[in-house]
């Protein structure tokens, strides 16, 4: 109950501030029609085959738009935003926060959001190697065979947030402060429970799987990541599902999506957006997108909802 209220409280204030600042991007009517497009992708999940899977996506867009499209992968959020901002890349597949940043800073249009199993949001998870301390029930295996407690096996947040005050004083693995699931939402959830980042010992990591690994190896007691990053680590360490137990899920994080540079005419922005939507509707498109990001579909971006990440970031003093 308490956690629900606190969470919706956060949501409420987030939407309030988001609507005040909701950024829809700009367009440049004077811009000439592009002769080629660059698509920048930031991997947010298990994208082992990302590089290969980008090719069909690029060629599908290319055939729909009638100009060459090139896919470029960058692991760096800032690089992707700067590229779109300076019209070096015209299309970006970005996490929610970076979509807002690109819009605020450079007027890039947040065009589409991804859907996974029909959802346009996902939960961030907290996990531990010390379930006795954080679980109020016995951990049980979920559909993927890995252990969950406090009702987190569904993957729908929020869940188990009552337990999170116990992280006070613990070592916590967390990602770069620009990561929605690896930092912003978990930290915001802690703050809502009166625990600040200063109350824990942060162990900084750079990727969701590294966070899991830190907990698995005992460098941290608790870690943050998207749901459920343990599958990545399982390849090297098969027992990760038993040693590391998920005990809490935050509020739902808006899914990543597609931004289009503001230095393009509105017609072309629409053209690009529709091409992508169209492709995501075809079986081929679904297959490719699933391979890239487990995306099962696309929908026009909900600007208000996207703003929630930025709002959450602001609520913990970032941005």
């Amino acid at each position: 109950g308490v956690s629900q209220n606190a969470a919706s409280g956060t949501n409420g204030s987030a939407s309030a501030s988001a609507s005040a600042a909701a950024c829809v991007g700009t367009s440049d009517p004077a811009a000439a029609a592009p002769t080629k497009l660059t698509l920048a992708l930031v991997p947010s999940g298990d994208a082992t085959k990302l590089v290969e899977s980008v090719k069909p996506l690029a060629s599908a867009l290319s055939s729909r738009l009638g100009i060459p499209v090139e896919g470029v992968v960058t692991a760096d959020y800032q690089a992707a935003v700067e590229a779109i901002g300076s019209n070096q890349a015209q299309i970006g597949m970005l996490p929610s926060l970076q979509m807002s940043q690109a819009c605020d800073k450079y007027g890039a249009v947040p065009a589409l959001q991804t859907l996974r199993q029909g959802k346009s949001t996902y939960a961030a998870q907290m996990f531990t190697n010390n379930p006795d301390k954080y679980c109020s029930d016995t951990p049980k295996p979920g559909a993927n065979g890995m252990l969950y407690c406090n009702g987190t096996e569904s993957g729908n947040g929020p869940a188990g947030l009552d337990s999170i005050t116990k992280v006070k004083g613990a070592k916590v693995a967390m990602l770069s402060a620009a990561s929605p699931a690896g930092y912003i939402f978990p930290v915001a959830a802690l703050k809502a429970k009166g625990v600040s980042v200063g109350d824990v010992t942060p162990v900084k990591v750079t990727a969701n799987d590294a966070s899991v690994l830190a907990v698995y190896k005992g460098d941290a007691e608790v870690g943050f990541s998207y749901w459920d990053a343990r599958t990545v680590v399982k390849k090297d360490n098969p027992d990760v599902g038993n040693k590391v137990v998920v005990f809490a899920l935050t509020d739902e994080v808006p899914n990543d999506g597609m931004s289009i540079t503001g230095k393009m005419s509105a017609q072309w922005q629409d053209k690009v957006k529709n091409a992508m939507l169209d492709y995501a509707g075809t079986p081929d498109g679904v297959k490719t997108l699933t391979a890239i990001y487990q995306i099962t579909g696309m929908k026009p971006a909900d600007v208000e909802a996207l703003g929630q990440t930025q709002a959450a970031a602001r609520s913990i003093g970032l941005g």
Binding site: A75, A79, A89, A207, D209
Partner: protein
């Protein structure tokens, strides 16, 4: 007179300054060890863990990725070469202007400041600035490496020029030579081998540094490394390591041979170098201070 002075035994001088310096350094090191937050016990299973990861990396490496790894390494080498050449072209004249006897303070200081600033800015930051101009391409990577090279080559260059033998400089002045003559015949011949070997050394550094640029999408071996390390495809990382090692060592051998050739005028590969045949001692090769880049 000095016959008596020479026969008085001196007392051993206590070198307080030196002793204090040693104490200070030791203190700093001890303080660093004592204060840093590290779980030293992690070192205990370091051997076991290393063995495990070595196995994951190399038993066996992902041979099927060899081709792709090799071609991205080539791209990295191209990036490094172009960056180095560009860096040389820009830094060479600048470091003449930053050397003490050759330029006034008003030119020297700003240039030295520029070199120091470049060296202080992380490659990633430089690359991101450039990226807004040239996009997510290897060209961006090469430009970032070029700028980084200007910082180090500029500094090494002016240090080498300042260390040029003063004798020939004086001879040129006394025979009525001007500025161009001083640079061409006084400074350049005595610093050339050192400067050339700095260029090669910087090229090697750039090959390695290009790995970092992979993080921001400049391409090359760095990108492949990044992708595969993130997702713990250790066998591919192992393959990449092999390629990196083979290519860098090959470059090292070639540049080593070039360097020996420049300094001593003969060709030899460092790894297969033979000892000079016995007997007479080898005397004075490079001057002791010639080698280190500052």
């Amino acid at each position: 007179m000095s016959a008596t002075a020479g026969s008085v035994r001196p007392v051993r001088p206590a070198n307080w300054g030196q002793r204090a310096a040693w104490w200070l350094v030791s203190l700093i090191v001890v303080a660093a060890f004592w204060s840093v937050r590290i779980k030293w016990s992690a070192l205990l299973d370091f051997p076991g863990q290393s063995a495990k990861y070595l196995r994951a990396l190399f038993v066996p490496p992902a041979w099927h990725k060899a081709g792709e790894a090799f071609s991205s390494m080539i791209l990295s080498v191209q990036m490094a070469w172009f960056g180095t050449v560009l860096g040389i072209v820009v830094s060479f004249p600048l470091s003449f202007l930053a050397a003490r006897p050759l330029a006034p303070l008003g030119v020297r200081l700003p240039l030295r400041g520029l070199f120091a600033i470049i060296r202080a800015v992380p490659e990633v930051v430089t690359a991101i600035l450039i990226l807004s101009v040239t996009g997510l391409t290897p060209f961006t990577g090469a430009l970032a490496l070029a700028i980084g090279s200007i910082g180090t080559l500029g500094k090494w260059g002016y240090e080498a020029f300042e260390a040029a033998e003063s004798g020939p400089l004086e001879a040129i002045r006394t025979s009525g030579g001007g500025m161009v003559a001083l640079l061409r015949w006084g400074v350049w011949p005595s610093s050339a081998p050192e400067v050339l070997s700095f260029w090669l050394y910087r090229f090697e550094i750039n090959v390695r540094a290009s790995a970092i640029l992979g993080l921001i999408g400049a391409g090359g071996i760095g990108k492949m490394l990044q992708d595969n390390v993130q997702f713990r495809n250790w066998d591919v990382v192992g393959m990449l390591l092999l390629v990196v090692i083979i290519v860098t060592m090959a470059i090292d051998q070639i540049s080593g041979a070039v360097r020996v050739r420049l300094v001593s005028g003969r060709w030899e590969l460092p790894l297969v170098r033979r000892l000079a045949s016995g007997g007479a001692p080898r005397r004075k090769g490079l001057s002791p201070e010639a080698t280190p880049p500052g």
